[in-house]
């Protein structure tokens, strides 16, 4: 090791993609290595001569680096350790950084000596459909034997088993033109649209813009392609209307010009800097988009084509030109297209011996022959039948079309079966690819509105064509978004040949020939699947798992279906292609969650008394988004039941205060307010007199109860209605639908006032005494002036506006009082202080629940969307004199069936027993079968007033069975209790406390 840089046997001098002066230390499988700034993990490993980087999924075969991009199916590694461990990361896209720590997957104990490589010898067992065939029988073996075995043997990497310590964020952005891919076409498109003034976002998954301009030895306008790319990026960077997003993969296309992208903000750093997320999920709304995502080179299917040292020809050029790494010492190039010539030029320039250019075509074009002659490379028209070598390539078995087979010593086989345009994003919204015979590739078919395709993604395989289509689509997109574009100037690029003859496979290979490297699907699997009748491409996919790995078969699908087409004697378009779906490359779940983790998963709504309740040491419960106090424990109380019972007794004997602000409050005003409410509620609200309150139910149109609450008429044309906490938004939306859509002729307005009012229930025999100390003396709240179910506006605490409602959920003499929300905190403190000598307590949702069950009032567990008013004993409130939503269907035979379970009370026959909500009722002595089911317990509570548990439930013919004993059967909690049916309410049936 000398100075700052590194000297490696496979590192080449020069180049602009890496910095020879910046050394980077990293480890792979615990061994220390060094690379250079600009390296990926894959290029650094290759520079260090590391050839085996993984074991394959099924057969545990040794695998090396196949590609130089995100399509990599082989070189998947685990990155980092501990909580930050990330499995299945492609070494080819992992930016090298100091301290990077990677390990190989699927090997035990080591990459070189993998015990499970015995699977390779058992290969006949692991053929297509092996999951279906081998492990069919006996079924019990699946769980105990097969599944653990398969998971152990065929797992990919291991996820971290600790919580992710990093943060992820989400961002929204808008633009005129989104350019996806920053290669020749993308840069050109962004330049044209950006110069015209359009708001442009240019995204590229790589950490450098340039795409194959950095990877191929080409020139534009007299300078190197890489230099041109650098200048283009510099110009774009200067344009204020252009945003460059490097390390950003656009992975999904959604309706209405919405695109999802993942930006790897900190993945190239040892750990994210403070205040920066690891990754950022972008939602991009773009008026126009240009898919310039390039292409993916196809492997050739020949024997042992998965051996380390067999690499895509384009990747070989990338490693040489961009990363300045020699992927081998002596190469054989095997191609069916003119890229073979570019490859031998670059190999020769890098002083790598080229043993032969094996051209799968019968004849090689003259210009390619000339290039080979210049490079001194022999051309063989024929095939590489097999690669050979135990752990990595050592020889190539070459079979000329005319002549004798021979062996070439080599450690590198560069292969190319042509290029697949990366059209995945064009198919996310149902686009169907179209086969192009001349280009031997699928091109985009129908595209979503506003989407263009340019460059290699559009089948433009030469650099000059890429630049031209980039300029053309950039101009079209800018014009479509209202910008003027004069004929853009397209720089001149070096000429190149792009001829291709279809060639997919070597049929007589001696060794396994792979199609899908990541899922270990070989040519023989496709042959078998076809023979067994799986001839449709979707069947082939599922039977063999071709294309079903995390790379979605980027390097496999087209070859696989081409082989199937050959076997069935059909054409490729007749065979068809499977659909690509988002995400284009795997996305971490953490990025989808963003900041919505833990307590931040949903917003939290705090009632006005929250701070005060917290000071009192209240326990809280989530009610929808609200955090409501559930009870207020005091020193010396041993459990929640003791606290709750004390609160109930205080309300029943003195006075209690409960924050009920979370109930929905809706203000209804207008000359037709009464008419609207009449159509929404089952009882008449027109008949309600000003200053009075009524309990009301609203139904869904299908006749089921939607919600209940109170309706107060506080003026001739002014009502205030309440909803349950859970249904506040739904009821409001329903009322808006009625006003805006069902009956637009009604002159009425509806507005939510839930958050404008802090509302407290003040309940108990001393509630009026307490209120009299709060309400300003000019207001009379005596029984005569303010009887039960009265409502009115008044002032409290010396002039604060308030609304008082005399109503009761607890069954006690009670009120609800609302003050403007900003007074909510001060008001509860004042109430508690004023009531101190009256024995006032604060009570929470638990005590509230106990008291409403004691009174037989229904709540959420009874209003569960499957109950009717008749089920709940509320039929008396169903007006027969008017139409209202749900009236007609509530009278359906099914809903009026007398055998429907109906609301009734329950107590344990043995009074000391506890009841359980959810228990099902069975006749005594009947077997616990669904056929004998007679209903279920909806709500239970311990009643301190009665000294035993009580429950509400729905029981067939319940009201006429009072006194009968039934079984409450709860197999979930293993409970079986005899319960007695009892009349409701449990306490104060005459309602004397209410009016007293």
């Amino acid at each position: 090791m000398s100075g700052l840089g590194e000297t490696k046997p496979f590192r080449l001098p020069g180049g602009s993609g890496i910095d020879h002066t910046k050394r980077i230390d990293f480890t792979f499988d615990g061994v220390n290595y060094t690379g250079l700034a600009g390296d990926t993990l894959a290029s650094a490993l290759l520079a260090n001569g590391v050839r085996i980087v993984a074991r394959s999924f099924k057969y545990h075969r040794p695998r090396g680096v196949l590609t130089a991009g995100s399509e990599e199916p082989n070189a998947l590694v685990e990155l980092r350790t501990g909580a930050r461990r990330e499995p299945n990361t492609r070494a080819t896209t992992t930016e090298l950084h100091d301290g990077l720590c990677a390990s190989s997957q699927n090997r035990w104990p080591s990459l070189k000596f993998d015990i499970l490589a015995v699977n390779n010898l058992l290969a006949p067992v692991f053929v297509a459909g092996f999951y279906y065939k081998t492990f069919m029988w006996p079924a019990a073996f699946w769980e105990r034997l097969y599944e653990p075995l398969i998971r152990r043997a065929a797992g990919l990497g291991r996820g971290a088993d600790l919580a992710d310590p990093d943060s992820y964020e989400k961002a929204n952005v808008f633009c005129d033109v989104l350019v996806i891919g920053g290669g020749a076409a993308g840069l050109m498109a962004a330049l044209v649209a950006g110069r015209a003034g359009a708001r442009v976002i240019l995204a590229d998954e790589d950490f450098l813009f340039g795409g194959r301009l950095l990877a191929d030895h080409k020139s534009i306008g007299g300078e190197s392609a890489a230099q041109w790319a650098a200048q283009a990026v510099a110009e774009l960077d200067q344009l204020p209307n252009v945003t460059l997003l490097a390390r950003t993969t656009v992975f999904g296309v959604y309706d209405g010009g919405t695109y999802a992208a993942i930006e790897r903000v900190s993945d190239h750093l040892a750990s994210p800097p403070v205040h920066l997320p690891r990754q950022r999920l972008w939602r991009i709304a773009a008026k126009q988009s240009i898919v310039a995502a390039g292409g993916t080179e196809r492997p050739i299917v020949f024997g042992n084509n998965d051996r380390p040292g067999v690499m895509l020809a384009g990747a070989v050029r990338t490693y040489i030109n961009r990363y300045r790494v020699a992927p081998g010492k002596r190469a054989v190039v095997f191609a069916n297209n003119d890229d073979g010539a570019a490859t031998i030029i670059d190999l020769t320039r890098a002083d790598i011996d080229v043993a032969a250019l094996v051209d799968a075509r019968r004849t090689t074009p003259a210009e390619i022959r000339a290039i080979a002659a210049t490079c001194g490379v022999r051309i063989v028209n024929g095939v590489v039948r097999d690669a050979e070598g135990r752990h990595a390539v050592g020889r190539a078995q070459i079979v000329p079309y005319d002549g004798t087979p021979f062996t070439e010593q080599c450690d590198l086989i560069a292969m190319s079966a042509g290029w697949n345009p990366n059209i995945q994003l064009t198919t996310h919204l149902n686009g169907r690819p179209v086969w192009d015979e001349a280009r031997v590739a699928f091109l985009a078919g129908n595209r979503p509105p506003g989407m263009h395709v340019a460059g290699t993604a559009a089948g433009d395989f030469s650099l000059s064509a890429c630049l031209a289509s980039g300029a053309r689509t950039g101009a079209a997109a800018a014009i479509a978004t209202g910008f003027d574009v004069t004929a853009p100037e397209v720089p001149r690029a070096s000429e190149e040949a792009t001829q291709i003859t279809p060639f997919w496979q070597v049929e007589d290979a001696r060794h396994k020939a792979f199609v899908d490297f990541q899922n270990d699907v070989a040519r023989s699997d496709i042959v078998l699947a076809e023979r067994e009748g799986f001839r449709a491409v979707e069947h082939l996919k599922r039977y063999t798992t071709l294309g079903m790995a995390t790379d979605q078969g980027k390097t496999a699908n087209v070859s696989g279906l081409a082989i199937l087409a050959t076997l069935t004697g059909k054409s490729i378009p007749e065979t068809g292609i499977t659909t690509a779906r988002p995400p284009y490359t795997p996305v971490a779940l953490g990025a989808f969650a963003g900041h919505h983790r833990g307590k931040a998963f949903k917003p939290t709504r705090l009632p006005p008394s929250y701070a005060w309740a917290k000071e009192q040491g209240a326990e809280f419960v989530e009610a929808g988004l609200w955090l409501r106090p559930s009870y207020f424990p005091r020193d010396g109380e041993i459990d929640w039941l003791q606290s709750v019972s004390r609160e109930v007794e205080a309300v029943r004997n003195a006075v209690g205060i409960c924050d009920v602000s979370s109930l929905g409050k809706i203000d209804v005003q207008g000359p037709d307010a009464a008419e609207l409410l009449d159509r929404l509620y089952t009882s008449s609200m027109k008949a309600l007199k000003t200053g009075r309150v009524r309990y009301g139910c609203m139904l869904r149109e299908d006749g089921m109860v939607m919600d209940d609450g109170t309706v107060a008429r506080i003026g001739e044309h002014h009502y205030v209605v309440t909803t349950t906490t859970a249904n506040a938004a739904k009821v409001y939306q329903h009322m808006q639908l009625a006003v805006q859509w069902l009956w637009p002729e009604l002159d009425v307005n509806v507005v939510s006032a839930t958050e404008q009012w802090a509302q407290y229930a003040i309940a108990g025999p001393r509630s009026r005494a307490l209120l009299q100390r709060i309400v300003d003396p000019s207001h009379d709240i005596s029984d005569a002036a303010f009887p039960h179910m009265q409502a009115g506006a008044l002032t409290v605490c010396g002039g604060v506006k308030a609304r008082l409602y005399r109503l009761s959920f607890s069954g006690e003499h009670a009120y609800e009082i609302g003050v403007p929300a900003r007074y909510g905190d001060a008001f509860v403190r004042r109430l508690m202080q004023a009531g101190e000598d009256l024995g006032v307590v604060a009570y929470g949702t638990e005590a509230l629940g106990v008291m409403r069950i004691e009174k037989g009032h229904v709540s959420g567990p009874e209003l569960n969307g499957t109950t009717t008013m008749r089920d709940l004993g509320l039929d008396g409130m169903m007006s027969t004199k008017k139409d209202y939503i749900g009236r007609v269907l509530a009278d359906r035979p099914g809903l009026t069936d007398p055998l429907r379970p109906k609301l009734i009370g329950f107590r344990p026959s043995e009074r000391t027993k506890r009841l359980r909500a959810g228990a099902h009722f069975l006749p005594r002595g009947a077997a616990a079968t669904a056929a004998n089911d007679q209903g279920y317990m909806t709500s239970v509570a311990y009643s301190p007033s009665l000294g035993h548990w009580i429950g509400l439930g729905l029981l067939i013919d319940g009201p006429s069975r009072v006194g009968e004993v039934v079984r409450a059967h709860d197999p979930v909690r293993g409970d079986d209790t005899l319960v007695e049916v009892c009349a409701l309410p449990f306490i104060d049936p005459q309602g004397e406390r209410l009016r007293g």
Binding site: G256, Q740, V888
Partner: protein, 99 residues
Amino acid sequence: MRIACPCCGERSLDEFVFLGDASVMRPTADCADREEAFHAYAYLRRNVAGPCDELWFHAAGCHAWLVATRDTRTHEISAVRLAHEVARERDTTRGASGS
């Protein structure tokens, strides 16, 4: 998906709540065979492959109910109108043809 609210402009899908087919009309209480009519209103829906009028509520926006014309095959939205305006037109037509 993005919906162009006539009040608020083009907004993301997650600001809206979907209700359903806007072509069904609530029967009047005095209509003939009202059980059948309400059954159809509550339950029967066409399954259109093509443009379809739908009710959407701009819940995280202006609280307007909207009638959006969406092609169920492509999710392309060709028109968005305020529901109360559509309803007034509808009722005018219904009133005219009824009387």
